[in-house]
């Protein structure tokens, strides 16, 4: 089965990449975009036997750096 791990920057952490993307969107002439935050989507193909606890441990130990990032795990 497929699992998606969504990794995003915590609130309050400056996101230079998001800011640059925001700037580029405005440069293309689009209006009304108030803020852009860039994150990361990691897709895992896992056996049915892989537990939620194991997925959480993977996210904590490697996929997200909890100093700056939050994560959300979604089984698809």
């Amino acid at each position: 089965m497929k699992v998606r791990v969504h990794v995003s920057l915590k609130n309050g952490v400056l996101d230079p990449q998001g800011r640059a993307i925001h700037h580029a969107i405005e440069g293309l002439g689009f209006n009304g975009v108030q803020d852009v935050r860039a994150g990361r989507l990691i897709e895992l193909e896992v056996d049915e036997t892989v537990t939620d606890e194991a997925l959480d441990a993977m996210a904590k130990q490697l996929l997200a750096n909890q100093v700056i990032e939050n994560y959300r795990i979604e089984r698809v």
Binding site: V13, L14, P16, L62, L63, N65, V67, I68
Partner: protein, 226 residues
Amino acid sequence: MGGFRAAVITFPGSNCDRDMAVAIEQVCGGEVHRVWHGDAGLPDGLDLIALPGGFSYGDYLRSGAMAARSPVMRAVVEAAGRGVAVLGVCNGFQVLTEAGLLPGALMRNAGIRFVCRSVALTVENTQSMFTRGYAPGQTISIPVAHHDGNYYADEATLDRLEGEGRVAFRYAESVNGSARDIAGVLNDQGNVLGMMPHPERMIEAAQGGTDGRVLFEGIVRGLVGA
């Protein structure tokens, strides 16, 4: 007892490992072992472990993230716990934060661009084994070359680092957006230093200055004096 013993770890994508090894050889003397990241252990009796600059694993996932989980890092964490000096420069600093040996994280430079030039630093701590050769508040010049040098930690952590004198170096000019202009931090025992600037690139006059040499001299001096 033998002379000074150091190890320089090479990860796939490290590119300052040779410079680091040469700097240690020339300034500290003794033996410098080159250790591959996949090795499970480190040589015995080390005085210094250096994690060099570069782009380990192509900065995949996050800078330093993959390297921090490589086999040799377990031995580095264990040695750091025993009080062995650990110096992480640039990517090495990123690896140390990812490995949990130093607090905080290094994010994309606030100005987005890669910064490659000599910068002015203020020496904030002159008590550590790495910084004892400098004068308090001394301004030194050391090159930086990084894309992800923007130091981040939450306010409580920053206050604690400052209160405990664990900010080793601060940028004396605008470089990358780092919180409180932090360029280098120490762990709570003072035996682990991570810094974005490259002291190994400033060890002889032909390189434009010797402000980095003082750091390596300090490490040796502490051992002789101990």
